[in-house]
Assembly symmetry: C2
Homo-oligomer: 338 residues x 2
Amino acid sequence: MDVRSVRSPAMTDVAKLAGVSHQTVSRVLNDHPNVREQTRLRVRAAIAELGYRPNRAARALVTGRSQLIGIVAQNTTLYGPASLLAAFEQAAAEAGFAVSVGSVNRLDRESIAGAVDRHLDQRVAGLVVIAPVASADDALEGMPEDVPLVTIDGDPARSQALVTVDQAAGARLATQRLLGAGHRTVWHVSGPPDWYDAAGRIEGWRSALQAAGAEIPPMVAGQWSPSSGYDAGRMLARMPEVTAIFTANDAQALGLLRALNERGLRVPADVSVIGFDDVPEAAYYIPPLTTVRQSFHEVAHAGLELLLQQISGSATEGEQVVIAPTLVERASVAEPRA
Amino acid sequence: MDVRSVRSPAMTDVAKLAGVSHQTVSRVLNDHPNVREQTRLRVRAAIAELGYRPNRAARALVTGRSQLIGIVAQNTTLYGPASLLAAFEQAAAEAGFAVSVGSVNRLDRESIAGAVDRHLDQRVAGLVVIAPVASADDALEGMPEDVPLVTIDGDPARSQALVTVDQAAGARLATQRLLGAGHRTVWHVSGPPDWYDAAGRIEGWRSALQAAGAEIPPMVAGQWSPSSGYDAGRMLARMPEVTAIFTANDAQALGLLRALNERGLRVPADVSVIGFDDVPEAAYYIPPLTTVRQSFHEVAHAGLELLLQQISGSATEGEQVVIAPTLVERASVAEPRA
DNA sequence: GCGCGTATTGTTAGCGATCACAAGAACGGC
DNA sequence: GCCGTTCTTGTGATCGCTAACAATACGCGC
């Protein structure tokens, strides 16, 4: 009696206590139909009494699948990826899956492939890859066919399961808002054009101008960083004809706002600005930033659902989900001065 | 010949190809000493030829330990936690470990315990818990003794392995900088006082004032959010005697800057401000924010090292590591007006 | 009463690694 | 030439679970 077992209880211990075979315990655990209600209860009681928890490694060994979902993301320090990651983790936890992260520093083929490989090592049940540039998509080319895969932000032209945000629609929203306020045209500080997101926003901006019959000014090519917004701002501040600017993200807008401020230009009185992302700080920029919000929560949920469908084998081939962004009105847009 | 095996190769396949027993393959894989060099090479070649990768589930089953590290964090959307997570993931990957995240929404006992439990289910090799408030520490009380555990930001009074940033030192740095610029005293907008970080910053601020013989003004209690900085700013802006403010983090400082700006106060000409965190955007606030930087990279590395020591059994009892923050000078500090 | 289908439970055989132990080879000392 | 070490390799059991199959019980129709 005094000799307490050091190791945690296994299925056979539960079986012994409940007076059944270990297989019956397994059936109860996996909700198999053909178990008598009374037996099921007895097993449940034994499980509770022993504080038994199934050994996932053993299960993974025999089924060949773990309850782990791998996620490959880049630069998870930034607001966007970090939010996506958090949303994913939460959604997965609700579905009984754990999430293993593999962040990469660069989005080249090699880095991505390495991260994917590490996850495959762990025998993940499925894989989510955030592939915002073509090179990341490319790295997925040689993937084994049999592991469920969902791509986020990837190339819609590929036939994988994919979740994206309709960047062009968001850009159109922003551009139309500025045109609607009476601006003759809208300037755009872009993100790195090899990113799908940036390309989509450029396209949406262009198409909205075109549809409105407005002049299409040259695009100012930038990066995602505040510093590139700052640089663009210094340049645009010298051009009096610039009265409305749409930036590819909020960080850029922050830098832009500072550059305009330094040059003595007031936002929105002199220049109107719209960003993209709706980071938590955007409401406290000077002035509060009107911006486009993309719901990472929706993206994560849609992505997980697609993945779970594949895992359970009920997947429709190459399904794609597109999430619509929305415009968040704050105080950085006004009519142009007469 | 044409019948290609569907399943991935196992150790016995490698053994057969190399003409040795599976046990010898295992020895090569685990770098056991007593294997003849020639044999080792033959096995390595066979491994490469088959593209063999060991099955972690099988290994975990027999050893009782996975190559997974669990990490419990709150609100991983914020810059601080997100950075810590990313740094940890990277450090762990270098050491051959995968990282499983469990974010929690609230820091109460129950949430933390739940996240810990889910990780224990996965049979993690070790656990990192970010425990910035007492309730999180409390949740760790009932933890099984045998799983390696490192706490980040926890209570130094407890005897666990712990990594913290010396918040008080950082606050002293900021306060002394402002006093050094000639301000009679420094006001402080605090974080939620039940957070260890916030408490440390309050204490450092107080002690620096005390040491300098400066008057200690009432503390303005805030949250971590920009809105609380904004609220504090609106109040402080009405008080002409306020010339120097130290905020508990950069997000607060952002809100504060906007409130001051709205009231027509210039920073740093009228009021000097120092923040805490050095978020990437801080350099692009208006004006660029002088702030205190804590190196998440160092924290993560120290934490992982402590954890790996425990996992390998070479741990010194209850070791604690303290990381020193540094001051980052920008443009939000100046001498007070005469 | 016999046969058959269905619900419930048990038995056995792996999954793919590690561990403990044993066996054979090589080598030096007497 | 025999014996005891040390180095190297192999054998068999085992981890805790699920899958496949077997066995038993029960009910029903003829």
